[in-house]
Symmetry: C2
Subunit: 373 residues, 2 copies
Amino acid sequence: MTEQAAQTTGQEYHVVRASALRDWVASVFVRLGVSEEDAGITAEVLVSADLRGVESHGVARLGPRYTSKIQQGLILPRVEPRVVRETPATALVDGGNGLGQPVGRWAMELAIRKARETGQGSVAVHNSNHFGIAGYYAMMALEHDMIGVCYTNSTPLVVPTYGRTAMTGTNPIAVAIPAGEERPWVLDMATSVVPLGKLEVYARKGQPIPIGWAVDSSGHPTESAQAVIESLRTRAGGGILPLGGTAEFGGYKGYDLSAMVDLYSGVLSGGRWGPHVGENVDGRAAPAGVCHFFSAMRVDGFRPAEEFKRDVDEYIRAFRNAPRAEGEDRIWVAGEKEWELQERYERDGVPLYYKVVESLRRVGRDVGPPFDL
Amino acid sequence: MTEQAAQTTGQEYHVVRASALRDWVASVFVRLGVSEEDAGITAEVLVSADLRGVESHGVARLGPRYTSKIQQGLILPRVEPRVVRETPATALVDGGNGLGQPVGRWAMELAIRKARETGQGSVAVHNSNHFGIAGYYAMMALEHDMIGVCYTNSTPLVVPTYGRTAMTGTNPIAVAIPAGEERPWVLDMATSVVPLGKLEVYARKGQPIPIGWAVDSSGHPTESAQAVIESLRTRAGGGILPLGGTAEFGGYKGYDLSAMVDLYSGVLSGGRWGPHVGENVDGRAAPAGVCHFFSAMRVDGFRPAEEFKRDVDEYIRAFRNAPRAEGEDRIWVAGEKEWELQERYERDGVPLYYKVVESLRRVGRDVGPPFDL
C-alpha cells in the first residue's frame, strides 16, 4: 500500500504508476516467450483499460485470460499475423492464434495505411484472441485525423430476444472521432445491458438485479445474479440481455447490434461466430477463435479536418452545456469520463483493487518476475 | 373499402395495391413540379416503408412531411444534388434542399460506384430533408454483394442521459448484409427506445407508458405520454429516452449511438446537427437541413461473396433455430418480420389505416389527382 491509496477507498486499493505496471506486465509476457515488441503492446493495451477505468478489461485479466492460456498452449506466444486477401481498401488477416493485442494493433495500422491511400481502410481478422478494450484500436485513428471503428466478437454471454441461451458475446462497438481543443469523442460500449462483472458484484453482495438485465435458464427475466452466473457456468442456459433489455424496451435492437458486430467480425472474416466463439468446444479446451473488425476513414475526404474538428468541439460543448435534469449536475459526452480518469491516473497512479493485486502476485510467483510495485 | 379489408381489422383498414399506390403518390409529386424520375423514386421509398410495416415512415407522411412542405417552399421540388468534395472512396454532397429520397438514392448509388472501384465508398450529405426509411438505402448495396450502411439525423425528440431537453432525433442506424438462400439480414432501428408514434398511441388511449420510455420537462421519467407530447410541442423540454432508457439500463449507450449517427451525418457533412435540425429555427419555419451518411463495402474485399453469403445463411438459421424462452414461439432475425410483411403486402395489397386514407384524400383534393384507389 502507498500513501496515495488513502485517496481512494481506504485499504482496498493499491496505487501503482502506470509506466511501472506496463513494464512489469511486459516482462511477464517476455518470460512466456512473447517478443519484446508484442509484450510491450499487450501491456500497453491492458494498462490503458485500467487507466480509463475499465478494470474488467485491464490487468485483472492477466492471469485468467492471458498467461494461463499461453501456458496451456491455447494462445501462441509468438506469431506473425498474415494477410490472406487484400484490396487497396480492405484486407483479411489471419491472427495465427496469437495474443489479440499485437494482432489488433497490426491490423488497425494496416487499416489506417489503407485509409491514407484510398480514403478508407477496413480489415477483418480471424483466429485471434481477446484483445482488451476495443476503444484502444479505434483511438489509433485519431492522430491521423481519421474516424476509427472497431468491433470484436467474444465468448457467448448474451441471450437474443425471446431466446434462452447465450448466442453472442457482449460484442463491443467502438467509434473514435477526432476533436480540436476538446478531447476526442470516443464511444466504447458493450452491446449488452451490463457487463458480466456487474452481475458478479450483485451476486457477491447478494443483491437482486433489476428486471431487464438478465434471464434465467428458462429465458424469463430474473432478479438473481447468482442464478444467471451459475447457469452460464454449467451451460444450462440463461445469460445477460442485450442493450435495451426486454422487448418492451427495445432489447431486440441490442440483440441486432450484437449480431451486426458478429457478422462484421466473425462472418466477414470467415472465422468463428456466435455460440462457436470461446475456449471451450464440445467441453474441451480449445483456442478461442475470436474475430475482430477494424476500420479507419479520413475526415478530409469530406471536409478539411480543421473545420471538422472545430465543429466536433462545438458539438461536444453543446451537449455538455445542455439543460440538465432536475437534481443532475452533469451531462457526459462519450469518452469524457474515461479521459478524466486517464488524466488523473496517469498523474496520481492507477488504483488496483486488492483482489487484483493478489492475482498479479500469483502471476508473478508463477511466471515471474515478482509483482512488487 | 375492398373485400380484402376484411382480412385485417374490420373496417379500420383499406387495402390497396402497392403498384397503384406508388403510381398515385408519384403523380402527386409530379403535380407539385417534381420530375417524373424523382417523383417515382420518392413514391417508391415511401411505399416501401408501408410494405415493410413501418407505417410511420410511409404514405401517412405524404401530406404533413412532403407535399405541404413543397407548397410552403420549405422543400424545393426540382434540384440536382451537387458533389462538393470528392476522393476515390468518399464524397460530400449538397442535397440542395430537395426531397430526401432522390438525393438519398443518388448519394447511395455514388457510394456503391466508389465501392466498386476502391472496395469501399462513403458519402455524406448536407442540406437535405426527410428521406423515409434508412433501410431502403442500406439495402441498395445488397444486389452488388456489398454491405450497406445508412445513417440520418432528424428533428430533435430524444433527451440525452441526465438531460431534460431533446438534443437529437431518433437518428436511425441501418445496416444491410447480403445472404444466399435466406433473405438478407437487415437492421433498421431508431436509436431511441420507442418512436414518437408509439407515445401517440398511448396518449390517444390514455394509457400510462412504462417508466424508461420518456422524461417530462424536468428530465424525470414519466408515465404520461400526453405530457411528453405536449411539452415537446411547446418546446418546454422533455422527450423520448435513448435506446436503453434510464442510465440503470444503459441509456447512455443509446444516447451515444444517437450522437454517433449525428456526427457522421450532420458534422461530417458540415451541415446541421443536434438541436439545430428541423423546420423551425428560432420559431420561424425554415428548411429542415437534414443530413445523411451512406456507405457501401464489397464483401469480396475480404472473402468470396458466395462463401460469405452461405455463412450468413448459416448464421441466420442458427439464431432462428436457437432454444426459445418458455412460452415464446419464435426468435426473429433482423429484417425478417419486415420481409414477411413485404411479401404478404405485395401479394395481398397494403393495408392503410382509415386515418391515413383520409389524409391521402385531403392530399388528393388539395394537390390532385384524387385518391380513389
